[in-house]
Amino acid sequence: MAEHAVLTLHIPEPAVRPGGLPDFSSVRIPEAGSVPRPNIDADPSSIRDLAFSIIRVLNREGEAVGPWAGLLSDEELLEGLRHMMTLRTFDARMLMAQRQGKTSFYMQHMGEEAVSCAFRKALQPGDMNFPTYRQAGLLIADGYPLVDMMCQIYSNEKDPLKGRQLSVLYSSKKHGFFSLSGNLATQYIQAVGWAMASAIKNDTKIAVGWIGDGSTAESDFHAALVFASTYKAPVVLNIVNNQWAISTFQGIARGGSGTFAARGLGFGIPSLRVDGNDYLAVHAVAKWAIERARGNLGPTLIEHVTYRVGAHSTSDDPAAYRPKTESDAWPLGDPVIRLKNHLIQRGAWSEERHKQAEAEILDTVIAAQKEAESHGTLHSGARPSVRDMFEGLYAEMPPHLRRQRQQAGV
């Protein structure tokens, strides 16, 4: 009998831990403009390369180049910049509000603003997103009132969700933003179901699923891809790969697969990777996938390659699990600065106007915050009633809940 070496278990590790020098040498970044743009009805087997490359539009000089460029006007890009700046300012104020004890919890988008802001602009009214907790740009870019978002974060008397949900778990059917669960990945398959319903009813609306790199490991992700593939559902399935799932680097969920996008190939789903810090690239790829879905050509899987600059939430400190300067070393840069530089390069923007816009946006956000806080914050001022706790669970309150409400004295 042949002798074998003993078995050993492989535990993946990130390239660097705290104290080390950031190292993204393993992240291969193709030249902007170098990835071809296939027709939307291309045979999925002919575009498998797109699952291993990165579609990019903005180059180092701030120019929009290649076949995915040229879709957006100056006005549209300026609006996009404003959305991203608003989201960033909103985050900064809400993060501070959490530190001041005005709410229990917050999650910021720093570095990932382009993903949700640009995607939203490729959708049409009536389409439905099934987001995770880091896509508030979908709301901001659709004009959802900042005050309403803040009232939800504060769980105050004007909270549209009556204080029932943890901060940032918004819901707005009107703005195509499905109620956020807080459990990960569950909504991916729901997006597919919603899209199937739209197809069953011969509607023209499409659905969009969102998931993070870490939660692609959940079975819900697999179920969603199976259903989307089997029924050719009109759905765009997004993976936001921001490199970190709380303290766990993306290699733990990715395993031996080359990329997250590659997960889609086994299902025959066209699967693309896009520079998630490039507003123009995200928008162009979103538009391509959305056109496919609306054209009855079936699902698309998009991996947005980005980086979570901040902590996962207000409950963790990234310095405990990754080098402090890692975000500075991220090779795809900052989405706000890149779009700003592009607009300046186009002659549509300037440093002065940018500074002025920053000040205006800060004023707007502070005014919204003042108004929201006039309706209370989590631990002070007006709040939803105790009665609200018992109501709205069923269309009609069943007897046992009625009894409990009476016991609670409301």
Partner: protein, 337 residues
Amino acid sequence: MPRKTMIEAIRDAMDVMMERNEDVVVFGEDVGYFGGVFRATQGLQAKYGKTRCFDTPISELGIVGAAIGMGAYGLRPCVEIQFADYMYPAYDQIVSEAARLRYRSNGDFTCPIVVRMPTGGGISGGQTHSQSPEALFTHVSGLKTVVPSNPRDAKGLLISAIEDPDPVIFLEPKRLYNGPFDGHPDRPITPWSKHELGEVPDGHYRVPLGKAVVCREGGAMTVVAYGTMVHVAMAAAAETGVDAEIIDLRTLLPLDLATIEASVRKTGKCVIVHEATLTSGFGAELSALVQESCFYHLEAPITRVTGWDTPYPHAQEWDYFPGPARLGRALLEVMEQ
């Protein structure tokens, strides 16, 4: 009036609702072309087309998760989990999503879905085709849980469930599909065609959710039962001669506590019977409620007769199953107290 099996009655309910409402869709494993392993959806695909009734991949979380998305869109999915024993992969979707969607979105989104599942034992199904997981649903805020015991109720309850604006778990005691099984596996099967509750009206009718029914009036004690155990209780009362008042709950949540209270206040004694395991079973909740609301009317401790706290066995099925002999002994013991 036409006589139907419970399977035919359930199929009839879906047929009636699919005919009346184009938003009703039916899907699950083997549900489409073949018509389901228990034949509950037989003929529906041929009649309503493949987009109204179809097969799914073997993914219970996929079935329920997709149904939630469809419900949010505005459809009325009525989905099948092939056996209640297979529902666990879908449990997160049921508990964290379906049950809470209306509440957490403050009514912005709702979840008008029905999840049908064959439940209970008595079919030599072993531990993965025999379970009664109802307490795992009644424990969850936001769900309704229904367990019919006969064809006439099954059709009316399923129609109510499909029309209900909130998620309903519809547990079908599979041993009752073909007849009113009274817990005697050695006796010939009585078909529903010989039972008055096998008479199922044609067309649309509702049996309201949340309303129990007294299926045998009596003065000696109250027996609270649902599903298969309703028939076992009837047999046990007949065989022991105990003048039991037998209540068929039909819906576990919302619970018709008023009917239970009125009976226990009259009889002063209460026996609770279910096929599911004892500890933290729905009988524990019933017992607590009866104690809280009828304490001064009780003349004996509340007694529970249930499956043992073991997995559902194969060879020892009839030692596990709380049949008429075990229930009968309990009734006689309670009589003596």
